[in-house]
Structure formats: C-alpha cells, structure tokens
C-alpha cells in the first residue's frame, strides 16, 4: 500500500519543489529523477497487485486492481520517458528564446502536477475524486498549452479550457445522478460514491437514473477522450503546446479519460441489464474514428496530423470497449497500451523534426532521413507502427478488435477496414515527403535523445511479436474485470 501512496506523493512533492525551484538549470534533471522514482513506485504497486490481487487502501480512498494498475504503470512509464526527452528539448526552447526562466518553473511544476492528477484519477476509489482529478488535469495543463504566449497558443488554451471545462461539467452532473441512484441502495453516505461499493450494489441501482447518468458521464469524459463532436480542443491544444506536453496529453490524458468512461460502464452495465452503454460508446467511437480519419488528409501541421490520429485511435478504443466481450476488451486494453507508447514517441520525434525544420508546417519539413537519420527513421517507424503495420503491436490489437467486430457486428467490419485504409493513406501521403524528399539547405541536425523513442518502439514491436506471459495474464485479469470473462482462460 505504501507504494501507492508513494506513487501519488512523489509527483505532488515534485510539483511543489519545482514550483519553487523549477527555473534552475538542474530542474530538468529533478523532473527526470522524480518521474523515474514515480515509475519505480508504480512498478512496485504493479508487482504487489500482480502477486496479491486488488489493493484497497485504509478508508477505502484508493483502489487498485488489474485494470487500473497497468494504466498506473503505463502512465508513470510514459511520464518518465517523456521527462527524459523533455530535458534537452526544453533547454533548446530556452536557448531559442521561446521560453523564459519563470515559465520553465511553471512548466516543470505543472508537468509533475499533471502526472499527479493523472495518477490520482487512476488510483482513486471515489468517483467524485476522479472528477476532481480530471478537472485538475485540465487546470494543470491550460497554462502549458499557452506556454509560448503566441496568439495561436493562447487561443488553443482558451478553447481547451472552455470546451473541456464545459464538457467535464456534464460528467459532474452524471456523478451527482449516480450518487443519487446509489444513495437509495447504499446507506452510508460517504460510501455511496466509492467505486467498490457501487460495483457491488450495481444490480440494484435504478436503471432509469443510471442510464441518464451514463449519458452525462459519457459526454463529459468523452470530451476529454476527444470524441467527435466534442474533439475541437484536441488538435489545437496538442499542436500549440510544447511537444512534451503533446506527448503526455495524447499518451496519458486521453487514456485516463477513457479509463473513467470504462470504469463507469462497469457499474452501469449490470444496473441497466441492457447494452445501452456499449451501444452509445460504439456509436461515438465509430463516429470519432471515421471523422478523424477523413481529417487526417487535410492537415498541414505535423502535430495536428498526429493529434487527429489520436482521435482516430481513441475512437477505435471507445468502439472496442463498447462492443464488449473478452476479445474486444482485450484488444482495446492492448491498444491503449501500444497507442500510448507509440503516440508519445511519435510526438517526441515530431518535436525533434520541428526543431530541425524550425517550423511545424508539414510542407517545410523535408528530407529528415538525410538531415538526421535517427529522427527520420524514428518518425517513419513510429508512423508505420501507428498505422497498424505488422509486426508492431498496434497491428495485433487492431486485428483483435477487427475479429471481435467481425463476430459481433459483421457489417461494421468493412467500415473499420476502409477507415484504417484511409487513415493509412492520410498519414503516409504527408509522411513520405517529410522523411524522404530533398533536404533543404537550411536544415541541420539538432541534439536529440532518441533513446526513449527507441525503447518505446521496441516495446511496441515486442508486444506485436509476442506478448510476454505475465503481461498477457495481466491483460486477461483486466479483461475479466471489465467483460466478465477471460480471453485466454487464465482466470483470476
């Protein structure tokens, strides 16, 4: 249990420390160290849960089971690798005069603050606190989006703030409704919002109220997932903020928001006794997937391009969780992991590419492989992975989702296939000239630490070739929690 508290306390302490001293030159290292320690603590939590089953803290404030523990570990890991990337990247930004020392303090402090809210949202057992943490994540990142103070970045911050704020307000209303339904069954007031209590009492909850609550919660957290038509903030916030932030937004925030939706769905399904929640998620997921795929083609900014790809993949995961059943759920969980790893490494590489070209505009980024082979290959491989090329892990998870769809909803499979094809075209028509193409004279290589990218892509490759036994077992436990049955028959 101590490891759980440590996982939360470390980033919080880091946020406070960096809030005071984040402008020092050593701050980047402190950021890396704190993130690394957090990852260590989260690994300890994961080991605990894998060995001893779900953890419930004293006072039942925190609850860690197979589902969220792997997200906790993933979040801490991506936070760690992105911190490694962020240190030289932000030094470059300071040298380029885009950020001053005061803003570096803000940046570092909020980086840890954001990690804290993410981990809190994942580990809390209280749906109210989950909401508070999700809103807190918005608050922590708003000023990061506008870090460069350009008119575009300020506009993006404003949109992000307003849209996410309004969206997430709907989720609070849904939470109130859920609390209302729970209070009729659970008599201890303070326990009626605890996920464990709600889950136990779920079959007795009033279906009409719970259904209504789910609609509000889906709209609310769905805004943060980036589901169409509530996705407008996402490309702006991703493209205008500093690149490390794009990486953690795309790799973590979207996941955690989707986690919130799935957690709620786990309560709603037994209460409703109908597949309403799943159908809603399928509808929103499919819509997001298709719309994002079409928008991929008309992007002119490299980070916007990949943020639309994020919307596409989040839509696919939402769809898969909506389909339900062990196969689709397993696929969605795997997809969450590989997308997180791949997308954050892509944003890191795209950040380097933007430094090389001095702009984020796709038509001015050319010949990366000739300028700096590591960055060029990184972008190429990352994009290949995210587009679903075998043998990367994304292919495996997409294959699982497709098979599940084929079984349950055969007529939706062609839509998914066409969508994936169109997305492939959209990504590669932009990627090809950026990676190959003629190298402009003005371009020169930059200091880039491609190690995190290499590690993450290697992990994705590994997951595609062979999912290690303990990881498969782990996913299977989570699948059992969510879908009620295991895929591999591992049991829990």
């Amino acid at each position: 249990m101590i490891a759980v508290y440590l996982t939360l306390a470390l980033p919080l302490a880091g946020a406070l420390w960096l809030g005071a001293f984040g402008h020092r030159r050593s701050a980047g290292w402190v950021n890396v160290a704190v993130s690394g320690a957090t990852f260590g603590a989260s690994a300890a939590v994961a080991a605990d849960v894998l060995r001893g089953g779900p953890l419930l803290s004293g006072g039942r404030m925190f609850y860690i089971d197979a589902f969220n523990v792997y997200l906790v570990a993933l979040t801490a890991f991506v936070g760690f690798t992105t911190a490694i990337f962020s240190r030289p990247y932000m030094v470059h930004e300071v040298e380029a005069g885009r950020v001053n020392a005061r803003r570096m303090r803000l940046y570092h402090s909020m980086y840890q603050g954001f990690l804290f809210t993410m981990l809190l949202a994942l580990s809390t057992n209280n749906l109210g606190i989950l909401w508070v943490a999700m809103e807190g994540a918005t608050l922590a990142t708003v000023l990061l989006v506008s870090l460069y103070r350009t008119p575009e970045s300020v506009e993006a911050a404003w949109k992000y703030f307003i849209l996410c704020g309004v969206g997430i307000a709907q989720a609070l209303f849904g939470t109130v409704l859920l609390y209302f339904a729970a209070a009729r069954v659970i008599h201890a007031r303070d326990e009626a919002l605890l996920w464990t209590s709600l889950h136990a009492a779920a079959p007795g909850l009033e279906p009409a109220v719970v259904g209504l609550a789910f609609v509000f919660l889906l709209v609310g957290y769905g805004t943060k997932v980036g589901l169409v038509p509530l996705h407008n903030w996402l490309p702006d916030a991703h493209s205008e903020g500093p690149t490390p932030m794009s990486a953690i937004l795309s790799g973590l925030l979207l996941n955690v928001a989707l986690y919130a939706v799935v957690r709620v769905k786990m309560i709603v399904d037994p209460a409703l006794g109908t597949p309403l929640a799943g159908r809603l998620m399928m509808g929103f997921g499919m819509l997001s997937f298709l719309v994002a795929v079409l928008f991929l083609h008309r992007q002119r900014d490299i980070k916007r391009l990949y943020s639309y790809s994020s919307i596409e993949h989040m839509g696919l995961m939402t769809f898969a969780f909506g389909v339900g059943g062990p196969l689709a759920t397993f696929g969605a969980l795997l997809h969450m992991t590989v997308h997180s790893l791949t997308k954050s490494s892509i944003f890191v590489t795209a950040g380097h590419a933007a430094h090389i070209a001095g702009t984020q505009r796709i038509e001015q980024i050319r010949g990366l492989i000739r300028t700096q082979p590591a960055v060029g290959w990184g972008l190429l491989l990352g994009t290949a992975a995210i587009a679903g090329f075998p043998p990367f892990g994304v292919f495996t998870s997409e294959f699982l989702v497709l098979s599940a769809t084929m079984k349950a909803w055969p007529w939706l499979t062609p839509l998914l296939l066409i969508g994936l094809g169109v997305a492939f075209g959209g990504l590669f028509r932009h990627l090809h000239p950026m990676v190959y193409g003629e190298r402009p004279d003005s371009q020169s290589a930059v200091a880039a630490n491609m190690l995190p990218v290499a590690v993450q892509l290697a992990l994705v490759l590994w997951l595609g070739l062979a999912i290690p036994g303990f990881l498969a077992h782990w996913f299977d436990q989570a699948t059992h929690l969510i879908a009620g049955a295991t895929l591999l028959g591992g049991g829990s």
Binding site: N126, A169, D190, F295
Partner: protein, 226 residues
Amino acid sequence: MNALQGLDLTRQLILLLAALVLFSSFAMLAQSRLVGLVRVFAWQGVLLAVTTGLVAYASGHTHLYASAVLTFFLKGLLIPWILHRMVLRLGLESARESDAYRTPVQLAGAGLVVFSYYVALPVVQLSALFTRNTIAVSLAVVLLGMLLMISRHKAVSQVVGFMSIENGLFFAAVVATYGMPMVVELGVAFDVLVAAILFGVVFLQIRASIDTLDVDRLNRLSESEP
C-alpha cells in the same frame, strides 16, 4: 390545491429560492453589461448559499451548513470579486454585449427549462426528498449557463457562464442528494477556485496577444486555414 400545501414554510421558501436561482440565470441572459453580469452572478451565488443553508436546516444534514458557508464566500464573494477586478483591470467597465438575438435566446432558455424538466422526470419520480422538484431547476441552470456561453462573445461573459454551470452542478448535488461527500465538495470547490484564478491569467494572455477580449477574434486555428 397542490403539493405545496403539505410543506412547511421553510420548504416553501426553498422552492421559492430555487425559482429565484432559475430567474437569476435568465437575468444573466438578459444582462448585457459585463459589470451587471458579474453582479447577477454574485447574487446567484448568494441565493445558492441561502438555499443550501435552508436545506441544511430543513433536512437536518449539518454538513450542508459548511457547504453553504463555503458557497457564500466562494461563489457569492470571492469569485465575483475576482471577476469584477478583472473587468476593471481590463478596462471593461462600460463594455456591453450586443443586444442582437436577446429575445430568441431567452425563449430558447425557456425551451431548455422544459427540456430539463423532461430529462429530470425519471429522477424526480424516484426521489423522496422534499427538494426533488428542484432537480429540474438545477439542470436548467446548467444548461442556461451553457446557453450563456454560446450566445456571448466576450471572454468574461463566457467565464460567468462557466461558473454558472458550476453553480447549477452544486445546486444539483444539494437538492438531489443533500450534497456530495465532503471530500468531493472540497475538491470541487478547490477546482473552481483554481479555475477562476486561471481564467484571470488567460484573460491577460488573450488581451496581450490579440488586444481584445472578444473571443470571436480567436479564429486563427481552424480546419479551413490555407
């Protein structure tokens, strides 16, 4: 004559105050001066606090007193004060929103009230609390806050709408379930306070970057850029 007669005076008063909270939302829609808008918002916060206090008194849930006091200071005094200072600091004392579409917006607001009534109906039918009928009002306040945000062009007005949504959510928690657990309420209050401060910072940034607070002018980022 109707259900009201069965309630004692405090409970009747709570219903009246709930109606006034709803009215304050409409008053915000009708108010075109920014200073006036912030003032109406402050009144809504005060009404909310008084309602919460009365609900605490009538229901015997003492933790609601704490919520009422918190609401009074946060939404009745502090946040309006922050917003008011922002308006003064940005030199917007005499700024007005345009009056176009005022009446259709109000009618749309009335439509939203009807809509919330139907949405809240299944919840209301299940509830045994005397405040159950005001659940629809709280949802209406949320939706009217959104309407305010959509129909206005000044950043300050949009923030008032945002905060008014929060008011509606708080109200929903009070009347539907006699408030959320204290830890959640404190967390939400903290978020709201931080949001209010951050909004102030973002105002200054918007002002510094585009020299106005008209959010219509925030249009550089769109899918149709060349």
